[in-house]
């Protein structure tokens, strides 16, 4: 049985790492983008962003002032036993978020939706958010994603039902139209990690899009060539638009395009987009049944991608 103090400390360290350390895959994507960037001002912007992100690790301060919505993903072994059970896991996550806020790793960003009341600790109704995936085994893997207000509030999350008559062309046009509108003047903090959900009900497509944006390793490809082609075609298409870092012009508008899918109804194809901002904050860790904790460089949410 995994002790409460072990998983609570792991949750806290994962939040802190997600908030203050750039993921290795995002760093690689930045280095490649800097090499490739054709606009000198945009190149300076990319360099300054990477330099600041590297400094955050040393200074132990947030990668961006907006530390976002606190979102947790748990991949749980079917035989995993937690002291206090899953109710206590969620309580521990809330305590860890409050502690990280108190220590300045997170900004007190979550508010009551009507009154604007600020609890000061990022804890409130249905926040943090929890998603679970069950697999065989006795371990637990946790990922913390900080979904920024820019990428979430300014049109980065969109949805449309595309008719089978319109197929892949309809999907790709919807994505391109959506991204151009949402990236105007840097609203969603491009270069983005663009997640696309295809199929399922609207909420399934939206969840897949968010997971594709937040939990796929940047630079990975979908194993199905049909979906990998959509990823590649849209990556090339969007990076040809000249939107650039913070929308001010440049040749890097997306760091990655990640597609995930579900089967859909014969009546139509639910499509959703979710953009993650350039900082693309997340961190993951795994605890085995004997309490051994190890950091993970990739969330492993979609297997090896």
């Amino acid at each position: 049985m995994i002790k409460t103090e072990i998983y609570e400390q792991a949750l806290f360290e994962t939040i802190k790492r997600g908030a203050t350390e750039i993921s290795p895959d995002v760093k690689d994507a930045f280095i490649k983008a800097i090499e490739r960037e054709e606009n000198p001002d945009a190149q300076k912007g990319l360099k300054a962003t990477l330099e600041s992100m590297e400094m955050s690790k040393v200074r132990e301060n947030p990668l961006c002032v907006d530390t976002g919505w606190p979102i947790f993903y748990f991949k749980v072994g079917n035989q995993c036993e937690l002291e206090g059970g899953f109710v206590e896991l969620e309580n521990a996550a809330r305590r860890a978020v409050a502690r990280a806020t108190e220590l300045g790793y997170l900004r007190a960003t979550m508010k009551h939706p009507l009154t604007g009341y600020d609890p000061g600790n990022n804890i409130g109704m249905n926040i943090p958010d929890f998603t679970y995936q069950f697999v065989d085994g006795d371990f637990i893997e946790m990922s913390y994603a900080a979904k920024g207000g820019g990428s979430e509030c300014f049109g980065g999350t969109r949805h449309r039902i595309v008719a089978f008559a319109d197929g892949i062309k309809g999907i790709e046009k919807f994505v391109l139209d959506s991204f151009v509108a949402s990236a105007r003047a840097g609203a969603v903090c491009p270069p983005s990690v663009l997640g696309i959900g295809i199929g399922g009900t609207a909420n399934v497509a939206a969840n897949l899009a968010k997971e594709a944006a937040c939990l796929r390793t940047v630079g990975s490809k979908h194993p199905d060539p049909m979906f990998a082609k959509i990823e590649e075609d849209l990556y090339e298409a969007i990076n040809s638009l000249g939107i650039g870092i913070l929308g001010a012009g440049g040749s890097t508008s997306v760091l990655a395009v990640n597609v995930e899918y579900a089967y859909t109804h014969i009546a139509g194809i639910a499509c959703a987009t979710s953009t993650n901002c350039m900082v693309a904050r997340r961190a993951s860790a795994r605890i085995d049944a004997d309490g051994t904790l190890r950091k993970m460089t990739s969330p492993n949410w979609f297997g090896d991608r």
Binding site: K44, E51, M55, N61, V65, R107, G120, A163, D233
Partner: protein, 207 residues
Amino acid sequence: MAEYHLTSPLTNEDVSKLKLGDTVYISGECFTCRSRLQKYIFDEKNVLPFDTKDRNILIHNGPIVVKEDGKWRLVSFMPTSSIRFEKWGAKSVDEWNLKMIVGKTTMGEKTAKMMKKKKCVHVSPRSVSPNLWIDSIEVQDVYLYDELGRIEAAWFFKLNDLGPFIVDIDAEGNNYFDRLDKDIADRKDAALKKLGIDETFEFTKLY
């Protein structure tokens, strides 16, 4: 494109010479504002408890500031999206006599119109680099901390060559991003064609 190093309080002459796409660095006194402050003043009819005359730069921002040994320490800073304050943009420029607004996502037509009338500009960051900025910012004071909370309070900053920012609304009300939009739209048509989607494509209307 020219580069300018300006010091607050800014004059009409300071901002009138700025052209779209120019780079600016700013020094001197400014204040922070998020929508809660504008709502508190303009909708809830409270009086702004400080003078903006010698502090005529507004930064749209909710910083992370902590108190250590009785002193404020800035942990993180990044200009936030200005467009969400469009409702009060023109009023803020007019009544607070602003000469510069710093923020992301530019602002709308109503604010740009008032900027032209009052000679004010909007400038945007080109990076997300809090650590390259916080050493150029001294936290001087805070107003409305109890009323609006730590993030949405009006923080007084003294800046030391903070930047670079690009001019995206000039003192004639022109917008850098409006111009960029046209280029992006043309490139989008070309990108769609390459994907096999030409101008005859229409979505099948399902609802």
